[in-house]
Amino acid sequence: MTLLETQGLTYAYQDGGPALSDLDLVVRRGRRLAILGPNGAGKTTLLLHLNGTLRPQRGRVLLDGAPVGYARADLTAWRRRVGLVLQDADDQLFAASVEEDVSFGPLNLGLADDAVRRRVADALQVMGIADLAERATHLLSFGQKKRVAIAGAVAMRPEVLLLDEPTSGLDRAGRDGLLAALQALHAAGATLVFATHDVDLAYRLADDVALFADGKVLRQGPAEAVLADRAATAAAGLEPPFLLSLGLTARAAGVLGATDPLPKTREAALALVERSWRKGASGSTE
């Protein structure tokens, strides 16, 4: 069940960047894991360890239970299975056109041209940007660039996809489009790991949450349980997601039954509130 794991990961930048200290994390196959913490907590540093870009000073990373090595061949095999998308899309687009850029990874896998073409088409399809294939990368909008960057990783068909602040800077439409694409990826079997400081995003998208602060995982577990833990979220400098608070309040007040699902979207939450108030109102007028 465990796909990727870290044990006692410790790392300090010489120039004083955010460090990791004795960090344990478990990524389970087929799940969506949010690494949730404030800015500067070391989330990006952790992601860079999960695909072997950084090498821990102590501790280790395990894939399918076996520690991975750092020889060139090991790294190649590792990165074939674990894809990484950084926060700033401009750092990741290198070619003149979308199609060309997305083919960078598959070509490096040594695939034949036909297979590469198929993978590029599939990746653009799942990210919902098939129509952009021939566009020049520098003419893309901010949100389009983000999706192309993710398509570049998706085209390599990794088992796990690591994403750093996937929705940061996106407006509502961009965010909704991206989330839909990530859901499609997940439905197709991919394991997703994303780092974010946005508790609402974590609540909406993640199955599991690892609360992260000062280079450590404070608590890891199912999203609802971890995010409802006020002591833990406060220790990470965060507050619980608004919709979760609303949902739990509803449960406590008996507006929702103990086994009713909590609202995960704004629409669902509004509908819940409206229903409860209409009932109350109709009750009082009767």
Binding site: F94, A95, A96, A136, T137, H138, L139
Partner: protein
């Protein structure tokens, strides 16, 4: 390398380099008087050169080194400007990375910020005038710029430390031999690299448009 040259040589190379750097600075100030905003562009070009020279370039032999960047810099920004920018870059390399040094700054400026860029620029101009293809011209310019830089360093060392029996020439052969083993493959790599860069810049009109600020 800090302190590697005897004091007379260190001072001598300062004297040799100074006119080139001063001429470049005078020229720069003239540009800046009319267009002060060019300051940002020049600084960006300098910082870009620094970062490029801190990147690792793979060599044919499997070893790694750093590109000198003099060829690309000379083609893009011109050799006069590179004398000043190169000097700033070398000072920061000494202060931020402890590469090179301050006492040997004059010698390093001469080889890396003057000889290299001028050779690259001249080769590039000549090759274009001879009607050679752009890629060939860029390759030759960057490769020979890199090689001339290291050859100059060899000569500088040989003059400072002539061979006891075979003199300066013998020492040139000695230092040159040491550098040649590692440097020729790296010069070829730098030449190829520069071709990739220039081709990518030309292949993507967007990159050039962004450079021109359109």
């Amino acid at each position: 390398m800090e302190g590697y040259l005897p004091v007379g040589h260190a001072a001598g190379w300062f004297a040799v380099s100074a006119p080139f750097v001063i001429a470049g600075a005078v020229r720069m100030r003239r540009i800046l008087r009319d267009e002060p905003q060019t300051k940002m562009m020049l600084a960006a070009a300098g910082a870009f050169t620094f970062v490029m020279s801190a990147l690792k370039i793979p060599s044919v032999t499997g070893s790694c080194s750093h590109p000198t960047g003099t060829g690309l810099g000379a083609i893009l920004f011109g050799p006069a400007v590179m004398a000043v920018l190169g000097t700033i870059v070398l000072v920061f390399q000494a202060l931020l990375l402890a590469h090179g040094g301050l006492t040997t700054l004059g010698a390093n400026v001469f080889s890396m910020a003057i000889v290299g860029p001028w050779v690259s620029w001249s080769v590039w101009r000549l090759a274009r005038r001879l009607g050679l293809g752009a890629s060939v011209a860029v390759f030759c310019a960057a490769m020979l710029g890199d090689l001339s830089t290291y050859l100059t360093t060899s000569v500088q060392l040989a003059i400072a430390y002539p061979d006891a029996s075979s003199g300066v020439l013998g020492a040139v052969a000695k230092f040159g031999g040491i550098f040649a083993v590692t440097q020729i493959p790296l010069a070829i790599a730098e030449g190829l690299l520069t071709v990739v860069v220039i081709n990518a810049l030309e292949a993507s009109p967007g990159l050039l448009a962004e450079m021109r600020g359109e």
